[in-house]
């Protein structure tokens, strides 16, 4: 079973703003646990936290410094 890691709709307020991944805290293929902080997301000057929605193996799909929108799938957890 795979769980998509998406940018939550409520990670930041304004719908028209975009963000970017600042850093993945785990390497592609690492084991993560549900609730772990797995990435930092930057919106304007503010750093936000992305948590793992499930436990399993992290497969990163979007690298840092790429624009992301709310709802974007940035990784999956297998």
């Amino acid at each position: 079973m795979t769980t998509p890691v998406t940018i939550p709709q409520d990670l930041w307020d304004e719908d028209d703003k975009t963000g970017s991944i600042v850093v993945w805290l785990y390497k592609d293929g690492a084991e993560v646990k549900e609730g772990d902080l797995i990435a930092e997301v930057l919106v304007e000057k503010v750093t936000l936290e992305l948590l793992a929605p499930a436990s399993g193996t992290l497969r990163i799909k979007v690298q840092p410094e790429v624009v992301v929108n709310k709802g974007d799938e940035v990784a999956v957890i297998e």
């Binding site: 975009t18 970017s20 930057l42 304007e44 000057k45 503010v46 410094e65 624009v67």
Partner: protein, 328 residues
Amino acid sequence: MQLTAEQRKGLLRTMALSRAFDDAMIALYWEGKLPIFQFGAGPLPGELHCSNGAEPVGAGICAALGPDDMITADHRPHHVAVARGVDLDRMAAELLGKKPGLSQGKGGHMHIYDPSVNFASSGIIAEGMAVAAGMALARRLQKRPGVAVAFIGEGAANQGAFHEVCNMVGLWKLPVIVVVQDNEWGVSTAKSESTAVERNADRAAGYAMAGEWVGTNDPDDIHAAAARAVARARAGEGGTILEVKTARLTGHFMGDQQAYIPEQMKQVDPIPPYREKLIREGVLTADEADAIEAEAKARMARAMAFAKAAPYPEPAEAFDHVFAGEAA
């Protein structure tokens, strides 16, 4: 000293121009910095502290000053600079780091200098306190007229320099006016979290200075208090701590989310009420007020066009101006 109708229109004009300046800079700020934030990118790089909400202080105080008087401002200098008549084109160019800027691109927005109107500013909190007092001392030694005005924030009134300088101003009866712009916040720290007394104007008693407190963020009231302070200073009666309850509408700096500001502490824009007041009192019509605001925006658009079109300094110019008296 009562203000004439013409002078009050002038206050509105000054505030509108200052607002147009900041709004134009805010509109430009994120250009090149997004979508992936980069502090040093875009046409307006670095930090930017805007004056939106504080325009009445610049307008009201500067209207009470004459050409001999001297001003120091802080990291939030635009409203004071505009009110003092600092060259708008060259100030805009300075913010963009351009060669025709006031400081040829050396200073940026916190370091605005225009000696032609006796204006200086600094990004170090409360630095301008002593500098203003020193300017006043110089005029006394030179036997020339001139009142010095230090514009600071309520946060700066807790800096050592504030207290040391106020004591000397009181001791030596120097013609210095300390304008404490109480916008409630020093970054995220509320005045009540930083300041032992409710009003900095009350601190004047401890330094043998006069205290004035203006609670309205209305340029008429601010001007009236400033006029009293200036009259005392010119008469040799010494200095004043003049505190104004003002506003900081666009956060500490660009990108400040202001999540620390509770709903009930949201501040009011002082320009529309003043405009309404002038209309109500028959000083001008709504059309005239609109025209003033349109003129301000048009003037700022010209300044911005000038700044954008201007060239950058050459990299090697970084080495010029370290010392006076050396050929650039």
